[in-house]
Amino acid sequence: MKMKQSTYLFFLASLTVMAGSCSKNFVTLNPGGQVNEANFYQTTADFEEALVGCYPPLRTAANMAFYMEEMRADNTFFDYNVKDQGGIDNEQLAEYLDGSDNTLTVQLWTADYQGIQSTDVVLDKIQQSPPADMTDSEKNQIIGQAEALRAHYYFELVRCFGSLPLYLHEVTSAQTAFVNRSPVDSVYDQIIADLSDALTKLSPPSSFPQSGNVTKGMVATELGLVYLTLQQYAQATPLFQSVTQMGYSLLPNYADVFNTANKNSTESIFEIQYKSGTDGQASQFIYYWIPVTPSTGPILGSGSNYDNTEGSWNVPTQDIVNAYYPGDTRLDASIAVVKGHLDASTDFIPDSVTSILNNLDTAGLGMGYTTSIVHRFIKKQYDPPYTTPLIYNTDDDWPVYRYSDVLLMLAESLNEQGQPAAALPYLNQVRQRAGVPPAMTTNQSMLRDTIAHERRVELAFENHRWFDLVRTGQAIPVMTAYGILQKAAWPYVLPNTYDITPNKMIYAIPFREIQTNPGLTQNPGY
């Protein structure tokens, strides 16, 4: 027994010593199932993956942008959904009732800033510790794309929210997470600096269809638009002119531009990439456009009837239908009409999709208020039949910049510089493709209106309308007049809607941001 005691104590003592000596390793654990900072950013391949990781926030932002940049303006509205007011924040964006607690604006803000943070991480880490195996051209590609994306995110933010907190370095701690707003000028300086540097590092697309990466063409286009927004036409013009030398061209048929078979075509300057399937890369825009219905089959043409609860947003207005020229091929390519009936529980059941050309003047589109069973929807992301057995799973990309946009911006830039005659060929290239007679006027003011109108119909539903109205100073008069019509047309549009003041040119800083960072100031009027 005494033997046992000693053996036991020896065992105990050695166990204690043993445990003590290995305890430091024992309590050091890293996740086995997740990439972490400690084991990443080591190789060129790691950085290339990190660069890819800077693109997906484009998609998150795109899901909010059509409300904030298109439905805010006169091209689209929504079909009032009497049964589900869960979308009231979306509606309030269209009616100028939105406040700092709007649940959409904060998502765009967050998505763009996530993109910015991802680019900051790449740019900081590649400078601090570039991998040994990385060549200069690889490094330029990564830096150039990251800078361009960072500028792109800031450019959307500054146009939506005004002056911004500028996060130019990786956030590594709570201390570096709180940044106050910089003036709009500083934000634009940063955007111009990033795009200018990216311009020197990137190349035009080497072949078509393009990869989907940021190219020199995208950078030049965006920098040109930045200058256009700042009304610095002299800087803008050569950038747009350079794009015309990069191998881009208009597709012969306007409708083909939006066909999923023609992704990243010669007309595409930059588009947000999607792919249907189960790996999380799919888009779902068409489900937002078509009506709320328990039965999507007759519209989307797939074998399955899905219950679409997300729809009836961004619905083309009578105003935009009227804006197309007679014989304009873009109307039928941009807007479709669905006819149907109401079931016993007043849900819309579609019967067939038909052309807008036979339904140009469909009065009363609201659900639940009339017996009308005709609904318009955007056709640009409509590619039936949808054969995937999954709901909210489509293949359509989102166009950001198209070559026709560059041509119209070049025309605008030249006209603003007093060269209307030089502007006309670029404008008419776009009109000709649409089947619209060429513009002839060389009156600068008239041509300015013509170009603006051309942009509206050529780029309808591509998130340009609201920013164009704001940068050309047309937002208040155009939207005030439109608001009067809206209130007359829809009984549920309240009297205090469409109160459009200069404060409404930008959105409120999200409430959570103001509450979280006491150093942030709110935009006036919110």
């Binding site: 005691q5 000693s6 036991y8 104590l9 020896f10 003592a13 445990a19 305890s23 430091k24 024992f26 309590v27 050091t28 654990l29 996740p31 997740q34 990439v35 972490n36 900072e37 990190a50 890819v52 009497v82 589900d84 007011q85 309030q92 607690d101 649940t103 967050t110 800033y113 910015i116 991802s118 991480v121 907190p165 996060y167 590594t172 997470a177 709180f178 269809p209 989907g212 792919k275 890369q281 328990p294 899905y306 219950d307 529980s345 007043t346 639940g368 208020y369 009339t370 017996t371 057995p389 999954l390 009984p491 549920y492 309240l494 999200p510 409430f511 941001e513 509450q515 960072n517 006491p518």
Partner: protein, 1098 residues
């Protein structure tokens, strides 16, 4: 003795033991030599001594001073005559007799000792004993919890004694790493014996503790069988890092996740448990170091007493019903049709409404003639039924000098009051201790449990919560019957113009969602008493948990907004499973010694623990038929797996010292190293010090019966909390893939910002208290004041979204928590045939946020689903919302008051809190505390002859509850069934209703559905938790039946509260104090009427 010790030491030296041990032995032997008496026996040390007969007891009669109790008429015997009486044991008498503890109390485990010899024998299960003792010796009769009684033998061969119950202060209490007499405790500890709460029906042991302990708040947050109990010791100690106390079963800390109910703690059968100790202050808990800041509940499972041979069976069967009180006050069919009729009338008047089925401005047919309807369907009532609950358990205990074994087998089955829900548990526990030779104990405890949760785990169709089964059914149209025809469900429950709602009764009945849990707790130990008073103990604990969850959502699946049938392509099956194991090795040395008036107990130990989990999740979609609900039949399958682990190493030490059992001082320290923190912050040290003074033992203290015992206690110490996820010190990347060149291309982005400086959350706690015994020991009072300051609370710190992240795990700010615990127990009446005892406890508790990083508040920043805010100067998680002031009743008021973006005449008028003359989200403010001012419990126990009765009351005062379900059942868009009071809405300036319910005008109703003071209710309640009436039959009814008690009881008998909802203990977030006090429409709490029997065999 000295020689014996010396021999021992030299022996040890010969085998080459390490030097430090030798030092300990020297100390020990010194102590042994100077110890006149053995230390007070603890339960562990009571009688395992084998019979050793020593010749140190005089065979002569004792000295005269001992003879007072002697029967003086008896002739003085000589040693020779003793021998004549009985010589079988070398000059000793064979003394037999019975030890009794009073009516109905199991006397097994009592012991009889020949004074001064150490010769001890246990009684059998009937209290009978046989001992050989010298004729003039003295026998000591003892039983834990009872007064030790001495009897002189005086030649008698038969001695029966009845032991009186010990004073409260001499009860043994389980504390961290040991046991102490209540008198010797310097910390704030409360103990509950399971027998005191044996009649409380419980799927989780926590239900039994409701109202039992001052400062322990036990809330049944919903009626979901087996998953609803949430604990808080002394209020919220943490933000959202977990407020659950550490649960330690027989020394083995358990992993728990009360939020999802997936930990081990709800797998413990309450029938296995012998006692609960609730450790409240730092002195009591700091030996558990980094996990102890929320307090500790020590569970001791049943073990066999020496001499015990018993088989007991406990059986009960009960019926559960949902009380009428607290059901939502919804419109019946006629009321709803009337409301909807008016709704469309107003639409026609104000909004040019055209009825789409007629094309004219007319009332829809469903509502045109409300008088045709009666009560219609009560959807809430349709979901529930009377459900049985049953429990069967058998305990077998055998204890001898060498082995003790206790085995409990339990089957518990609770069907839910919601159809097609319930849980079953098979639990087994076997606790065994072997004492092969003197001073060695080997223990082996095994406890497997298997549990089946049927349809209570949530998934896509949860029972609880916003628009889930219970709350969702409230919204269904009372105009529609659950049945289209006999046996055929109506698929939709929406009347004209209503939101798409499935038939929740159908959904409930076709639900296919099951989880099985298999857990295995195992525990082995070796305890060696190296020399008297010095114990070395090694334990190995293992904890294995396997969970398997399967659910299928077929073509008939529906939920809020989704009415069946669904296309087969959407059918989904889910299988989630995980394996968790955890091992813990603890090595302790415990040295107990007494030098004259000085007592010393020194404990030192080293422990290491590892927890590991691997998880799998598989989803299959697209099923040709509902007949094959397994993923093998799916057309598309996706799956993932992952693992995680944490480790903890610790060194701990404790010194307890007392002088004359009058002055006590104790110090503890624990050093923990945790894998959860950054490389330079892994280790934390948690010391505590405490002291006590038994004033009533001072010479100057008068010997009062009115106040016989006075003890003051004080403690101060540090405890920690490491309740955060694993790996939070490192930034984590997640796949962030994108399409390039038409193919999915791998991308990575940081999604979780790490904090390498993350470290312990530390609480500094002061506790001052006292224990008092009054009125001849009939009243015991215990009081504690505590004040806890928590620094660096672990919490996700909200950071601006502009940083690219939403939060960073952080040691947030400083909080102060304070309160008072008062416990009073009183034997009001102690008559032979009638007793009445009362236990009352009250816990006051409050907290304040002293500072937060950057002053950034937590919560209250989003338009929807964000109801609480934690901000500096306020309590943790106060409700945050608009202040409802009524309506803009007329044009004049509309012009006069500040307006919201969508305001119109007749709409909701909120208070302009910030005075900027407009109503925005910035006008939200603090609108109610979620923590009660105090909680209380009151237990009254009566016995009358063979009858016993017990009434347990529990309650709380001062908190508010937010009924967030009102955003649905006060919805004015005509899409849900709603509360009856909604009929008194504003319809015109001439017909403004009750002035509190706004109009139904389109686009204006949203503000009424945002968080506001209308949803906040007083949470005070008094609940009669349990009433029991029992009857114990006399002994020896049948040959092998020792005793039978039958009883009936009513659980959740009555609820007195002004809270209109069903359950004032509701808390949807369960454990997250930053989102406390929300009632989102929860699974109803049943009232249980049950009958049971306790039977003892042998």
């Amino acid at each position: 003795m000295i020689q014996a010790s010396a021999r021992r030491i030299s022996m040890l030296k010969r085998v080459g033991l390490i030097v430090s041990c030798t030092l300990l032995f020297h100390l020990a032997s010194f102590a042994q030599d100077t110890t006149a008496k053995k230390p007070l026996p603890t339960r562990d040390t009571v009688p395992p001594h084998p019979v050793i007969i020593r010749d140190t007891v005089p065979l002569k009669p004792p000295a005269a001073k001992d003879s007072a109790s002697r029967d003086t008429t008896q002739p003085t015997r000589t040693p020779a005559s003793d021998t004549l009486v009985s010589d079988t044991s070398g000059g000793k008498l064979e003394v037999t007799g019975t030890v009794s503890l009073g009516a109905g109390v199991d006397p097994s485990g009592s012991s009889v000792e020949v004074k001064g010899t150490g010769h001890t024998t246990p009684t059998d299960s009937t209290g009978h004993y046989v001992i050989h003792a010298p004729p003039y010796s003295v026998l000591i009769f003892s039983h834990v919890g009872y007064l030790t009684t001495e009897q002189s033998v005086n030649g008698r061969t038969s001695i029966d004694v009845r032991l009186g119950q010990e004073a409260n202060t001499l009860q043994q209490v389980v504390v961290s790493y040991g046991k102490l007499l209540k008198r010797d405790i310097t910390a704030a500890v409360s103990m509950v014996n399971s027998t005191a709460v044996q009649d409380v029906t419980a799927s989780e042991f926590g239900q039994k503790l409701q109202g039992q302990v001052a400062g322990l708040e036990v809330q049944q947050t919903s009626g979901i069988p087996g998953q609803a109990i949430v604990f808080q010791i002394r209020g919220a100690a943490s933000l959202n890092s977990g407020n659950q106390p550490l649960i330690v079963v027989d020394g083995q800390p358990l992993n728990s996740d009360v939020t999802s109910g997936t930990g081990d703690i709800n797998l413990i059968s309450p029938d296995e448990i012998e006692s609960y100790s609730v450790l409240k202050d730092a002195a009591a808990t700091s030996l558990y170091g980094s996990r102890a800041s929320n307090g500790v509940i020590l569970i001791t499972t049943k073990t066999a007493k020496i001499g015990q041979t018993s088989i007991t069976a406990n059986v009960y069967y009960g019926l559960q019903t949902v009380p009428m009180r607290g059901r939502p006050d919804l419109m019946d069919a006629q009321q709803f049709a009337t409301f909807m009729n008016g709704f469309y009338q107003d639409k026609i008047t104000y909004e040019s409404y055209i009825n789409p089925t007629t094309g004219t401005p007319s009332i829809p047919a469903d509502y045109a003639n409300p008088a045709q309807y009666g009560k219609g369907t009560d959807w809430y009532g349709a979901l529930i039924h009377t459900a049985p609950m049953e429990n069967y358990s058998v305990n077998m205990s055998f204890g001898t000098a060498k082995t003790s074994s206790s085995t409990t087998m339990n089957y518990f089955n609770q069907q839910g009051t919601l159809y097609n829900t319930g849980m079953q548990r098979y639990a087994f526990r076997s606790n065994n201790e072997y004492r092969p030779i003197e001073r060695i104990k080997i223990g082996l405890n095994l406890a497997p449990a298997y549990q089946i949760d049927h349809n209570t785990r949530g998934g896509n169709l949860a029972l609880n919560g916003n628009r889930q089964v219970v709350a969702g059914a409230d919204l269904s149209s009372p105009l529609i019957s659950p049945w289209e025809s006999k046996g055929v469900y109506n698929l939709s429950t929406a009347s004209f113009g209503m939101y798409a709602l499935p038939n929740y009764l159908q959904q409930e009945k076709i639900m296919d969602d099951n989880q099985t849990d298999f857990s295995f707790l195992g525990n082995a130990y070796l305890d060696v008493e190296i020399i008297p008073g010095l114990h070395a103990k090694t334990t190995i604990n293992g904890d294995i948990l396997t969970q398997d969850y399967n659910a299928y959502y077929g073509t008939n699946f529906g939920e809020f907004g989704l009415v069946p049938p669904q296309p087969p392509a959407s059918s989904t099956a889910i299988n989630n499973s995980n394996n968790t194991y955890s091992w813990l090795n603890e090595n302790t040395l415990d040295w107990n010694a007494k030098f004259g008036d000085h007592s010393l107990d020194v404990l030192a130990g080293y422990t290491a623990q590892k927890w590991y989990e691997s998880i799998r999740s598989i989803t299959g979609t697209g099923f040709a038929t509902d007949a094959t609900p397994w993923i093998s039949a799916a057309s598309t399958t996706t799956g993932t797996s992952n693992s995680s682990s944490w480790t903890l190493v610790s060194a701990l030490a404790r010194v307890n010292y007392d002088f004359k059992k009058r002055y006590y001082i104790s110090a503890t320290i624990r050093n923990d190293g945790s894998s959860r923190f950054g490389s330079n912050k892994k280790y934390g040290t948690f010391p505590s010090v405490s002291g006590a003074w038994v004033l009533s033992d001072e010479k100057f203290f008068p010997k009062w019966n009115i106040l016989s015992f006075v003890k003051f206690r004080g403690s101060y110490g540090l405890t920690g909390n490491n309740n955060i996820g694993n790996y939070t010190q490192t930034s984590l990347l997640s796949p962030s893939n994108y399409v390039l060149n038409g193919t999915t291309t791998l991308g990575e982005a940081i999604t979780v910002l790490g904090n390498p400086n993350l470290t312990w959350e530390t609480s500094k706690q002061l506790d001052i208290g006292g224990d008092f015994t009054l009125f001849n020991g009939r009243v015991n009072i215990s009081y504690d004041y505590y004040r806890k300051v928590t620094d660096g609370m672990l919490s996700p710190l909200p950071i601006p979204y502009a940083s690219g992240y939403g939060t960073i795990e952080y040691n947030e700010g400083t909080f102060r928590i304070w309160g008072h615990d008062i416990a009073i127990s009183s034997d009001n009446i102690k008559h032979k045939n009638f007793t009445w005892a009362t236990n009352l406890n009250i816990g006051f508790n409050d907290n304040r946020v002293i500072s937060l990083v950057n002053g950034t508040p937590i919560g209250g920043v989003n338009e929807y689903d964000d109801y609480n805010r934690t901000a500096v100067g306020h309590r943790i998680g106060e409700f945050y919302g608009y202040v409802f002031q009524g309506l803009y009743l007329n044009q004049q008021q509309f012009a006069e008051y500040p307006k919201y973006a969508t305001s119109a005449i007749g709409t909701t008028r909120m208070k302009d809190v910030n005075g900027d003359d407009t109503i925005t989200i910035a006008d939200r403010t603090f609108i109610g505390r979620t923590n009660p001012k105090f909680i209380y419990g009151l237990t009254n126990t009566f016995t009358f002859k063979n009858w016993d009765a017990n009434i347990i009351v529990a309650g709380q005062v001062g908190n508010k509850i937010m009924n967030t379900n009102l955003q649905n059942i006060q919805n004015l868009d005509g899409i849900f069934n709603i509360e009856k009071s909604m009929q008194y809405r504003w319809r015109s300036e001439e017909d403004p209703g009750n002035g509190k319910v706004p109009r139904t005008l389109s686009n204006t109703t949203d503000l009424y559905r945002e968080v506001n003071t209308n949803w906040v209710f007083n949470g005070d309640y008094l609940s009669i938790k349990n009433i029991t009436l029992g009857y114990t039959f006399g002994k020896k009814m049948l040959r092998y039946i020792k005793g039978v008690r039958i009883y009936c009881s009513v659980q959740n008998a009555f609820m007195f509260t002004k809270y209109p909802g069903q359950n004032p203990e509701v808390n949807d977030s369960k454990d997250n104090q930053t989102q406390a006090g929300l009632d989102n429409g929860s699974y109803p709490i049943p009232r249980v009427v049950m009958f049971g029997a306790n039977v003892s065999f042998l």
